[in-house]
């Protein structure tokens, strides 16, 4: 029995796409007029709405996945062997800034990004950055070959459906999550992204050197949206 996925777009967005959304908007406006709203009340309300919307998108999650975004949530915990057969435990990097990058050898934009990640690991590693790669290749041999060719200086593990689901559905690459020292996802980058934008966010987070609070990663399992 296949699982039918719920649409990822926000209900608000879906409602606006309906053909009768114009009528709904007209009714709403009539309602406002009928109640004799004070001057510029609509304008002030719109300002507040726009401000809140701006705040909600501050995590850089700009794709249509934003409604299901994991930004501001604890990064779902995982443990698996890396390509060198060492234990890769996300929890072990608590206290570091983690750039979690989902990639594959067939993904051209991923190949464009990864040499920069190597540079960043060297440049910001001493200040607490840890890059982790998750290969979504079907064949681990291809990932191993790329790992050697690209001289990746950070651990890489193989991904699977479970891990993809845990991170909200990795249904297009590249996909990268920026996790702060407390284990919270601070930004999500999907598709081809200007590397300068990612680097600026990395710089911002590594410059924060406050001691990490105790974070219970087990609680992520109970959060809606982390596992479907």
């Amino acid at each position: 029995m296949p699982t039918i996925w719920a649409p990822i777009g926000s209900p608000r967005a879906i409602r606006l796409n309906k053909p009768n959304s114009g009528a709904i908007a007209r009714k709403a406006t009539q309602g406002l007029r009928g109640r004799q709203m004070p001057p510029f009340a609509v304008f002030r309300f719109a300002l507040a709405v726009l401000f809140l919307a701006a705040c909600s998108t501050a995590g850089e999650a700009q794709s249509a996945f934003a409604a299901k975004s994991l930004v501001h949530k604890l990064a779902p915990q995982f443990v698996r062997p890396d390509l060198d057969n060492k234990r890769l435990d996300l929890k072990a990097y608590r206290g570091k800034v983690v750039l979690l990058n989902f990639w594959a050898t067939w993904c051209v934009p991923c190949q464009v990004e990864m040499p920069s990640f190597v540079v960043w690991q060297r440049r910001y590693g001493p200040r607490g950055l840890q890059i982790i790669g998750i290969s979504m290749d079907d064949d681990p041999a291809l990932a191993r070959e790329a790992y050697r060719k690209l001289k990746l200086n950070y651990p890489v593990a193989m991904g699977d459906v479970k891990l993809g689901d845990l991170y909200g559905g990795v249904l297009g690459l590249p996909m990268t999550f920026l996790i702060d020292r407390h284990g919270k996802i601070r930004a999500e980058f999907q598709g081809e992204t200007d590397l300068n934008r990612i680097e600026k966010q990395v710089q911002l987070l590594v410059s924060t050197i406050e001691a990490p609070r105790s974070v219970d990663y087990r609680s992520t399992r109970a959060q809606p949206g982390t596992a479907r």
Partner: protein, 167 residues
């Protein structure tokens, strides 16, 4: 009443300006990639089908539905695929093209076929171009490719079109 509309007009204009400004500051400069050889850009525009049109087609009776083939990553197919579609191998790899050939071997050359991938942005997809060419070379005359600008997640799943996961 005539003059009463002026403040409303001012508010509407102000609101529109604000929305435009908001949109401008929310949209960063676009990073324009270049296309690689064998990319999906090699598929003629006339052979593309938009998500909305395919979704309508999938509502048709069984006999009118096209053969829907995913020619990208198997892992991404397992994560999510369009109901009724079949995994036919990654178009970027010789083994994948071999699998595609086997998948369509029993079908008439006139069979309506829709290929899709959605692994990465359209102009970066390494699978669709070679898969499309393979079917053309095999003599299939009614082949289309599903246009997914960014990926399956953004252009299909997020738009509420049906999707299922391999169990």
């Amino acid at each position: 009443m005539k003059y009463g509309r002026i403040p409303q007009l001012a508010m509407t204009t102000g609101l529109a300006t604000l929305v435009l400004l908001f949109g401008y500051f929310q949209c960063p400069a676009q990073y324009t990639p270049t296309s690689g050889p064998g990319s999906a850009l090699s598929i003629p525009q006339a052979q593309l089908i938009q998500p909305e049109a395919l979704n309508r087609l999938l509502q048709a009776k069984e006999s009118d539905k096209p053969l829907l083939l995913q020619v990208g990553s198997h892992l991404l197919f397992d994560e999510a695929h369009i109901p009724g579609s079949v995994y036919a191998g990654a178009g970027s790899q010789p083994s994948g093209l071999q699998q595609l050939q086997s998948t369509v071997a029993t079908f008439s050359k006139k069979k309506a076929i829709v290929l899709y991938c959605g692994c990465c942005p359209w102009n970066r997809c390494p699978n669709l171009g070679p898969a499309f060419k393979q079917l053309q070379d095999l003599g299939f005359t009614n082949v289309k490719a599903l246009y997914l600008a960014d990926n399956l997640g953004t252009d299909w799943v997020a738009k509420g079109y049906p999707v299922e996961q391999t169990q």
